[in-house]
């Protein structure tokens, strides 16, 4: 079969979006400085480091962890992470015998305040379609082969609840500071496609 490239060319999209923005600015519908601020927020201020701090805190502070598992939205707000696409948070905890995996089969729901905007693969048809029917195959593609006696819990974000996986604290990290621990935590581990 020939190689089909059905994607609209990026240069076309650049021109179309430029034209659209200039139209909306000229009509007074958007403030270009607000657009800059939105882009800056998600490019530089909000990202998986936020989630990493939540996880590290839960590892070092049992009382915080308890609050996090009981009312994630409030516990995450204690660290200052709130707002759009994190209004209603639930944290699910990995254990040696339980592994959690988060997906949104219907669109691209993702906990922005703690993880930032989702990667392309998370929003893609292959991940969305397969995570619920073949989580073990998906995890294997990510290099994670789990034994059958580990229970996999897939969380499909079909409503306005947003999920964050609390990974297990890695062995050998007993002497690390909270800050060092936070740096260990990866986005993928908080989605559930990796373990630490």
């Amino acid at each position: 079969m020939e190689d089909h490239n059905h994607q609209t060319l990026p240069s076309d999209l650049t021109l179309r979006v430029k034209a659209l923005e200039s139209l909306l600015v000229e009509k007074g519908l958007v403030d270009p400085a607000a657009l800059d601020a939105l882009v800056d927020t998600y490019e530089h201020k909000i990202g998986p480091r936020n989630g990493g701090r939540v996880v590290a805190r839960a590892w070092v502070d049992p009382a915080y962890k308890k609050r996090l598992l009981q009312d994630a939205t409030a516990a995450i707000a204690e660290l200052g992470y709130t707002g759009a696409q994190g209004e209603h948070m639930v944290v699910v905890e990995n254990e040696s015998s339980v592994h959690n995996l988060v997906v949104c089969t219907l669109c691209s729901c993702y906990p922005w305040p703690v993880l930032g905007l989702p990667p392309v693969w998370y929003k893609s048809a292959p991940y969305r379609s397969r995570a619920v029917i073949d989580p073990r195959g998906v995890l294997a593609e990510f290099g994670l082969e789990l034994p059958q006696d580990v229970e996999i819990r897939v969380w499909d974000s079909t409503a306005e609840i947003r999920y964050l996986v609390l990974p297990e604290r890695p062995a050998g990290s007993e002497k690390m500071t909270e800050q060092e621990l936070a740096a260990l935590v990866t986005r993928d581990a908080m989605i559930g496609v990796a373990r630490l």
Binding site: G28, A34, L117, V120, K123, V132
Partner: protein
């Protein structure tokens, strides 16, 4: 609607393509499309459910073919035109219609941090008795609305267990069509993987789906 967006359980959609050190946006137009979509939402001419539904209305082959932000761009154009904020002719010419009054943006740069930090709760402080309780067995309804729904096809008619009551939330099926918020209890429902997919699934695995009260019946 039973659209191609409702893809949980489908085969044949390709391999997962992982990108190391992926940037937040892959091109400036993606960033602008994202920001334009959020800034235009501040006009409150539509809600999040209507916006989701608008993306579902893309022709199925376009939905599958387009990159993510390309589909956002198409969605934004459609919903702006539908809501009357811009006209098709303005999109095509790139110029405001002659004599169109100039508006004032509802979202300015100084408001962005607060807007981002506050978000918009989908829960509603409405007194409503919960029809189901934790540990109760329920069945997801077998219905097939042609409009928006957040009940995925792969759980319809299947039996699960209530594991959590999230509280009272806006009902997307009506809200997406501007037919009211119809606030109701939202539950986390655990479905055994074997209930969903048969014997091929691992015996202990499960899928947890957030389902509204109107999607469920007692067993």
């Amino acid at each position: 609607m039973n659209g191609v967006h409702d893809m949980g359980g489908m085969h044949g959609l390709g391999r997962i393509e992982y990108e190391k050190n992926e940037p937040v946006f892959h091109a400036p137009w993606e960033a602008r499309t994202y920001a334009l979509t959020r800034a235009m939402a501040a006009w409150r001419k539509w809600n999040i459910d209507a916006a989701r539904h608008q993306r579902e209305l893309l022709p199925a082959e376009d939905y599958l073919r387009m990159s993510y932000y390309e589909s956002w761009l198409e969605r934004l154009v459609q919903i702006m035109v539908k809501s009357g904020l811009v006209t098709r002719a303005e999109i095509e010419t790139g110029k405001p219609a002659p004599g169109a009054p100039k508006a004032t943006p509802p979202l300015t740069a100084d408001m962005v941090p607060g807007t981002v930090r506050r978000g918009a709760a989908a829960s509603r402080d409405v007194a409503a008795a919960a029809r189901f309780k934790v540990d109760q067995k329920v069945r997801a309804l077998n219905f097939h609305p042609s409009g928006h729904t957040r009940l995925p096809r792969y759980v319809r008619g299947k039996t699960g267990t209530i594991v959590r009551n999230h509280g009272v939330f806006v009902f997307p099926d009506t809200n997406a069509h501007f037919l009211g918020e119809k606030p109701q209890h939202l539950y986390s429902v655990r479905f055994a993987a074997r209930e969903l997919w048969g014997a091929q699934a691992a015996p202990r695995d499960a899928v947890y789906v957030d389902l509204f009260e109107d999607y469920l019946e007692p067993i």
